[in-house]
């Protein structure tokens, strides 16, 4: 189906865990991760045939995942309005084997992130959790580097106040 050595199913099996982890970090709602991952790969299905370089697959899936996560964050208010957001999200967010300190850190971060505008939230997670460069964040979010910097400053200020 593509110029890659792997077929779609194999690409999915190799990259789904990474995409799933990234989406969880971005949206912070374990109950919706599978849906977003599914959307990412449905969108990727057609474009995969055009990719020739296996090294390009992950960055490309990352870009789609970030945009899909942004879309999900934007429509979150609808879920909240219908009380569809999973109430156990906070407990499911933490790994069962996490230490009390790690548990507290995750809970604290995501409580603060919930109050940020989605673009600031995405920039903050991509930069400070994922370690992405400002340039790649700008490319993923289709904005300028200075906009990314401005959003990062705003997010850091808000997170600093709330944490």
């Amino acid at each position: 189906m593509s110029g890659l050595p792997l077929g779609f199913d194999q690409v999915f099996r190799v990259h789904a865990p990474y995409v799933g982890a990234l989406v969880l970090k971005l949206i912070g709602r374990p109950g919706y991760v599978d849906d977003v991952v599914q959307d990412v790969f449905i969108q990727a299905h057609r474009g995969l045939a055009k990719l020739r370089d296996p090294e390009a697959v992950r960055p490309w899936l990352r870009r789609i995942a970030v945009r899909r996560a942004r879309r999900w964050l934007r429509k979150r208010w609808v879920l909240r309005w219908f009380r569809e957001l999973d109430v156990d999200a906070e407990t499911q967010l933490v790994d069962a084997s996490a230490s009390p300190e790690e548990r507290a850190q995750v809970t604290r971060v995501y409580r603060s992130l919930e109050r940020l505008p989605e673009d600031e939230r995405l920039v903050w997670v991509l930069r400070l959790v994922e370690g992405e460069t400002l340039e790649s964040i700008a490319e993923m979010l289709r904005c300028s580097v200075s906009t990314v910097q401005r959003r990062l400053r705003a997010a850091q200020a808000a997170m600093g106040e709330r944490r």
């Binding site: 189906m1 077929g7 779609f8 199913d9 194999q10 999915f12 099996r13 190799v14 789904a16 865990p17 799933g20 982890a21 969880l24 970090k25 374990p30 599978d34 991952v37 599914q38 790969f41 449905i42 299905h45 499911q92 967010l93 933490v94 790994d95 069962a96 996490a98 230490s99 790690e102 548990r103 850190q105 995750v106 971060v109 930069r127 400070l128 959790v129 370690g131 400002l134 200075s146 910097q149 990062l152 400053r153 850091q156």
Partner: protein, 372 residues
């Protein structure tokens, strides 16, 4: 303007406690969802194309007929009768094709994965040209009849309660009852289910009724189990599996589902035999490393740390190029640390440094080895 650039690098946030775990069962579940969505989109697109084609044909016919012609008058414009683009042809991902007359026939793709393609002839007839692939099972269900094939060309047609099968090229197996499947080669054909063999002396119709009843019950149980799995009702599915172990099946897909059912219904110990069967019977399958990794995690969760270590070690030794090899090494080091085996943990940490010099989990492995 360089402020955030420098600050961000210094202030990386560690979210190690985040539950980012993802296992093989979840992969297969989400992948099945992706395929279902893609199939639905394909069907909608095909239906839209067919509708558009019919509408275009009708419009062209109207134009060709013109105001002075009556609908019954012969037309010289052959486009009016041209079939809609793509109508009557289903092209599967592996290149296999199904041709049918959409006005009289209907074929539904039930499953389309790398290891299995399953289609149902709902009504009418279809011509199947299947690309040879020994690693993939290809099945056509028509009523009570199942046609299994590796690579061939054949026709299947519903004829009332029976099904007509005719082979153009290659070989197929047709199963429709408890007897051994009938093998048909090129040029052969037959109507199935076959008439029942004459009852041997002493056998009465009651025994046949009992066989039919048992078969019907088994089919109902399988349908119910699959529905419970699809609806993530793992407790009910596990109860069904405990009553009828044959539901677990033999394929990698079936066994992964059975292992998931056991794990997700809080019976992790029962998942172990299913995962071991995958490693024993399907060691060359692309999902075998995932089964080995999941087995390691499951055994670890059961407190069988030494067995878990062996399973993670197998991921690295048998599938060293697998994307799971790095995680398996980390898990192995974690297990060694749990057992208090500092020497092994240190050896694994050194191995991690060699194999993944830029690995993101280096600090974690070194922590297990008490090096940090």
């Amino acid at each position: 303007m360089n402020g955030p650039r420098r600050d961000a690098r210094d202030q990386r946030v560690d979210l190690r406690g985040l539950a980012t775990g993802w296992d093989a069962g979840r992969t297969e579940r989400v992948l099945a969802g992706v395929h279902t969505q893609l199939d639905r989109r394909r069907r909608v697109r095909r239906a839209a194309l067919a509708t558009g084609g019919i509408a275009c044909a009708a419009a062209i016919a109207l134009v060709a007929l013109g105001p002075g012609r009556t609908p019954g008058a012969p037309s010289s414009d052959r486009l009016a009768n041209a079939p809609a683009p793509d109508s009557g042809l289903i092209r599967l991902r592996d290149g296999s094709e199904i041709r049918l007359d959409p006005s009289t026939s209907e074929v539904r793709v039930i499953e389309e994965t790398a290891s299995r393609v399953s289609v149902e002839l709902v009504r009418g007839a279809g011509h199947y040209a299947v690309v040879p692939n020994p690693a993939r099972a290809f099945e056509v269900h028509a009523g009570a009849v199942t046609v299994s094939v590796l690579g061939t060309e054949f026709d299947v047609e519903r004829r009332g309660a029976a099904t007509w099968v005719e082979v153009t090229r290659g070989k197929v197996a047709v199963s429709s009852d408890d007897r051994d499947p009938a093998l048909l080669v090129a040029g052969e054909h037959g109507l199935y289910p076959r008439p029942p063999p004459p009852a041997p002396a002493g056998e009465d119709t009651d025994s046949r009724d009992r066989t039919d009843f048992a078969r019907g019950r088994a089919e109902r149980a399988t349908r119910s189990y699959r529905s419970q799995v699809a609806h993530r009702d793992y407790r009910s599915a596990y109860a069904a599996l405990a009553r009828n172990p044959a539901l677990a099946g033999d394929t990698v897909d079936d066994l992964l589902v059975a292992a998931d059912v056991a794990r997700l219904s809080d019976h992790p110990a029962e998942a172990v035999p299913y995962l071991r069967r995958i490693l024993h019977d399907h060691a060359r399958d692309e999902r075998a490393p995932m089964a080995a990794f999941t087995l390691g995690r499951t055994l670890g969760g059961l407190g069988r740390t030494r067995d878990a270590m062996a399973s993670f070690a197998r991921v690295r030794s048998d599938w060293s190029q697998s994307p799971l090899a790095e995680d398996a090494l980390v898990r192995e080091a974690e297990a060694a640390s749990t057992l208090g085996d500092a020497a092994t943990a240190a050896r694994l940490a050194a191995e991690y440094d060699r194999a993944y010099p830029d690995g993101r989990r280096r600090a974690e492995v070194r922590r297990y080895a008490r090096l940090e």
